[in-house]
């Protein structure tokens, strides 16, 4: 009888661990999709999409400056779609229940200057799951050589 309970406990733990792993993989996939949505939304001046995925109290460090959600959306609205082209090179998602931290690199091609300069950035983004889904609560990037 004791052996039966031990086996049942092992099965329950294994099932719980598997469920957690699947949940984490699902979260990671959702966050990757949102990061992609951000890049595409920015490139298309899609303020509506960006408004939905950014938390109202977002802390965003853009080119070393602290920028609010409102300031960022206002800039995107008026900026030409070809001003900055962003290509995500690699991305890794770490999940902590209702929080996800994303690390990665992207290359930005700025058309503002005649030379069309390219710059690589290493970024850390934090997403939190709230009532209406995952929202970006913090984002910052620093120049990286590789």
């Amino acid at each position: 009888m004791k052996l039966f309970y031990v086996i049942m406990a092992v099965v329950a733990i294994t099932l719980a661990a598997t469920a957690q792993q699947e949940s984490d993989q699902g979260t990671a996939a959702a966050i990757r999709a949102l990061e992609k949505e951000w890049t595409i939304g920015q490139g298309r001046n899609d303020n509506r999409t960006l408004n939905l995925i950014f938390d109202n109290r977002l802390i965003y460090i853009e080119y070393g400056r602290l920028v609010s959600k409102g300031e960022y959306l206002a800039r995107i609205k008026t900026e030409p779609t070809t001003a900055n082209l962003v290509t995500i090179e690699n991305i890794g998602v770490r999940t902590f229940g209702k929080t996800a931290v994303v690390l990665g690199t992207y290359v930005e091609q700025s058309a503002k200057r005649k030379s069309s300069r390219m710059q690589r950035w290493r970024f850390v983004d934090t997403w939190v799951y709230k009532q209406n889904g995952w929202v970006l609560v913090a984002a910052g990037a620093t120049p990286a050589s590789r």
Binding site: R57, I59, I61, G64, F96, K98, V124, T142, A144
Partner: protein
């Protein structure tokens, strides 16, 4: 009777909102104190024990040069420094349940193998509350614009 019920309900809602604000202010104060403890005190005095206690095992740092380090790599880097002076100012804290974001301005002076280096910029930290303990899980340092 209906009026009494409505007033009671409003008082409950206001009370809950007030208590939530007070809770957030408590967390903001606590996180600012933790940032000073970890960034200013522990880094400046090379207190690896305190750093080890408040950095989560999954901690990841992107430093001002764009290099990624994990917890072990950061502690090893700290151990090899001759000295480090660190100051922070203008901290802003945003609480999102069990996740808190802190940003602020920093200035650091490191001496490594006799060579000094001064940097300044903005840091962006992600803290998680695990079983009542706040742990730092991610940090990025960004050069001043």
């Amino acid at each position: 009777m209906r009026g009494v019920a409505l007033i009671t309900l409003m008082l409950c809602v206001l009370g809950h909102a007030h208590s939530q604000d007070a809770n957030e202010r408590d967390i903001e104060s606590k996180l600012m104190a933790l940032e000073r403890l970890v960034r200013v005190q522990a880094l400046s005095s090379k207190d690896l024990s305190t750093l080890n206690r408040f950095l989560s095992d999954e901690f990841v740092l992107v430093n001002i040069d764009g290099v990624q380090k994990n917890k072990a790599e950061l502690l090893a880097y700290m151990e090899n420094l001759d000295s480090l002076r660190y100051s922070v100012e203008e901290m802003i804290v945003r609480v999102h349940g069990d996740t808190t974001i802190v940003t602020g301005l920093f200035r650091s002076t490191t001496v490594q193998k006799g060579k000094p280096s001064m940097r300044q910029g903005r840091f962006l930290d992600t803290w998680l509350n695990r079983d009542g303990r706040w742990l730092l899980v991610a940090s990025v340092s960004i050069p001043a614009s």
